[in-house]
């Protein structure tokens, strides 16, 4: 069960890399857990911590300005690689409610939306301008209005983003997909009786 997704206004963490894979978002050695909570401490573990466990000052997540940020800005093809839902669990546990990139891997996007984590794909030029703005002003605020599918970027106009209607409805109202599927059980049973092999 998720919470409804209220309007968002937050500063952002910029990790300006393409093809950020789920092994970077949360390395496999943290996947032996049987719960979905507490994974934020392992978020980007290998980029975030040095060999001795000390935070790397140069990694954006460790910057004092990143504290409290609810938006992560990446690059192209965010979330590629494995199907681990631990990736959105780690991101939301850290406090993120939205990821902005130019494109997302399919499974990551699907997993994110099931966990109240909105994915916003922007055109390359728009993202590049956003990355530049954030690099010069880490405190710059981005606002997201999901019902109208508008994101307002630092110093720029509002930009419309795409999201499928079903994911949007689930996010806005905090619905979970399983509820919809369970409501279809009579249809599923009838279909199964005649069509399933």
């Amino acid at each position: 069960m998720n919470q409804p997704w209220p309007p968002l206004a937050s500063h952002a963490v910029l990790v300006a890399r393409d093809d950020i894979d789920t092994d970077q978002i949360i390395p496999a050695r943290f996947l032996t857990t049987t719960t979905r909570s507490g994974l934020g401490s392992h978020l980007f573990a290998d980029w975030r911590y040095a060999e001795n466990g000390a935070p790397r000052a140069e990694f954006a997540l460790n910057a004092p300005a990143s504290a409290g940020a609810q938006i992560l800005v990446g690059g192209r093809n965010f979330g590629c690689g494995s199907s681990r839902e631990h990736a959105p669990w780690a991101l939301t546990d850290w406090g993120f409610r939205a990821v902005i990139a130019t494109s997302f891997a399919d499974i990551f996007r699907s997993n994110a939306h099931k966990n109240g984590l909105l994915t916003i794909a922007l055109p390359e030029a728009t993202l590049a301008a956003t990355q530049k703005a954030l690099a010069s002003d880490p405190a710059a605020v981005i606002t997201v209005d999901l019902p109208s599918q508008l994101v307002t970027l630092p110093g720029g106009p509002s930009v419309q983003f795409a999201i499928d209607g079903f994911s949007k409805r689930c996010l806005v109202d905090g619905l979970d997909e399983l509820g919809s599927l369970l409501a279809e059980l009579p249809t599923i049973q009838a279909w199964e009786a005649t069509c399933a092999r």
């Binding site: 890399r17 092994d23 496999a28 032996t32 494995s82 399983l178």
Partner: protein, 467 residues
């Protein structure tokens, strides 16, 4: 009359319980749900919290592969990592509670989920197959629609046997011509990903077609479909044919007798109709392909083994520079002669009997170089037994390689089999992401032939020099 359809569309249409509307995705029926220890515990917890049962345990099958040790003592595997042990226990308890068949530690049918599904004959043409694992695309080699899902969706399938899915687009990857000696299915898929990119298949289901695909055996087809996800594709599929049927016939859980004949009749329909169209098409020539090796930190960063790394001017972004820095390479350099610390042969990509035969063919009568450690991990306990019976294990042991129990092992490095920080590993697995094989590890993906040749040389080597 029905318009011409692609293979994907036929399998999709046959499993749509309720068509999508503008407001809601389609309800898609799942024929077979594969479960492993790492991505399922939270789904079983959710069922318990909501008072739900597993709806079709008969369409569900579980194994233990990701975190399982590959060292046995007196034939027994002992899990030392307490967290991994708790997770394995949780799977066993959930399977017992819900009546799900489990191939657990000690079961001689256990293995990597994508190896045992086909091996047991559970994976069949025309099926929809899902698993909480992105390499589920492997099963598409049989003309199944097979794709990875997250843990929430694992819960959805456990509870309803269905998923809410938007219909993906279709992409044709046609490979004409014939592969040359020393060039394998792994090289083919690495060449394809190098061309279309790690996000090139996003939103699409790929159908691999053409003369070079038809010429592949089932192991090769599984290798190709396995890495569809590394191009970002939702799934990869190959139409079933006589090669498929010959491989499946007589498998433990494949249909037999009249049921086999009925199934064959249906399976023959699983081809893309003449005149059916794909949303995208890409064409390759197998005869121009070389043994491939990755140099960077995603599977698209691959070159012919005798080629050179791209130079800075080749690309506009900084990804290549970052990858070179991580790997300790210089733009424009050759990889031949690069010293190799570890060689890993195994995984759901290249851990089948045919892969081990290829590697053993190179290793026979040769030794692993003194500076190199070689780990051979069969994809399943059955592959292990078959390889031992054929004498492959003896070849690897005589060469100085370590011969292990089955599992995902060093591909995902969560079972204790790791590559040390800074070390170079030539690996037959599927991902060369930073830290994939251990924190700081540097992975070079290649075929079993190239991996074996590199083990013998102690450095990156062209397998054609040893054939």
């Amino acid at each position: 009359m029905m318009p011409p359809r692609t293979l994907f569309e036929k399998v999709w249409d046959a499993h749509v319980v309720r068509d999508g509307t503008g407001d809601s995705p389609s309800v898609l029926y799942v024929d077979l749900h594969l479960v492993h220890e790492v991505t399922s515990p939270q789904a079983f917890t959710m069922l318990r919290e909501r008072g739900l049962k597993v709806r079709r345990p008969d369409r569900t099958m579980a194994t233990m592969d990701h975190s399982t040790p590959t060292m046995a003592t007196g034939g027994r595997i002992t899990v030392l990592d307490p967290a991994a042990s708790r997770q394995l226990d949780a799977l066993a308890a959930s399977c017992a509670e819900h009546g799900i068949p489990l191939y657990g530690l000690g079961d001689d049918r256990r293995g990597i989920v994508h190896v045992i599904g086909p091996e047991l004959g559970r994976t069949q043409p025309g099926m929809t197959i899902v698993c909480g694992d992105s390499h589920t695309s492997t099963h598409g080699a049989f003309g199944a629609l097979a794709f990875g899902i997250g843990t929430s969706e694992v819960g959805h399938v456990l509870a309803t046997q269905c998923l809410l899915q938007s219909k993906p687009k279709t992409m044709e990857v046609r490979v004409d011509g014939a592969l040359r000696p020393g060039v394998s299915a792994k090289d083919m898929i690495l060449a394809i990903i190098a061309k279309i990119g790690v996000g090139g298949g996003t939103g699409h289901v790929i159908e691999y077609r053409g003369e070079a695909i038809r010429a592949l055996d089932m192991e090769g087809r599984m290798t190709v479909c396995n890495m569809s996800i590394e191009a970002g594709a939702r799934a990869g599929m190959i139409a079933p044919d006589m090669t498929t049927y010959a491989w499946l016939a007589g498998r433990d859980q494949a249909p037999s007798g009249d049921a086999w004949r009925d199934a064959m009749g249906r399976w023959h329909e699983l081809v893309t109709d003449d005149g059916a169209s794909f949303d995208r098409s890409v064409v390759f020539d197998a005869s121009t392909m070389s043994p491939m090796i990755t140099w960077g930190t995603n599977p698209g960063m691959a070159i012919p083994v005798d080629g050179r790394l791209p130079i800075a001017a080749d690309v506009a972004d900084t990804s290549n520079d970052r990858a070179c820095a991580y790997m300790g390479f210089t733009p424009g350099q050759s990889l031949l002669g690069q010293p190799v610390d570890v060689v890993f042969v195994g995984s759901c990509t290249n851990g089948r009997l045919d892969d081990l035969r290829a590697a053993a063919g190179v290793m026979k009568g040769r030794r692993v170089a003194a500076n190199t450690r070689m780990l051979v991990v069969p994809g399943s306990q059955r592959v292990k037994r078959d390889a031992e019976r054929e004498g492959l294990a003896d070849i690897f042991r005589a060469a100085g390689a370590e011969w292990r129990e089955s599992g995902c092992s060093m591909c995902i490095a969560m079972n204790g089999d790791t590559v040390a920080s800074g070390e170079y590993a030539v690996s037959t697995s599927n991902r060369n992401f930073e830290g994939r094989q251990g924190k700081g590890a540097r992975t070079l993906l290649a075929s079993p032939l190239t991996a074996a040749a590199s083990a013998v040389a102690g450095m990156v080597a062209d397998p054609r020099s040893l054939l």
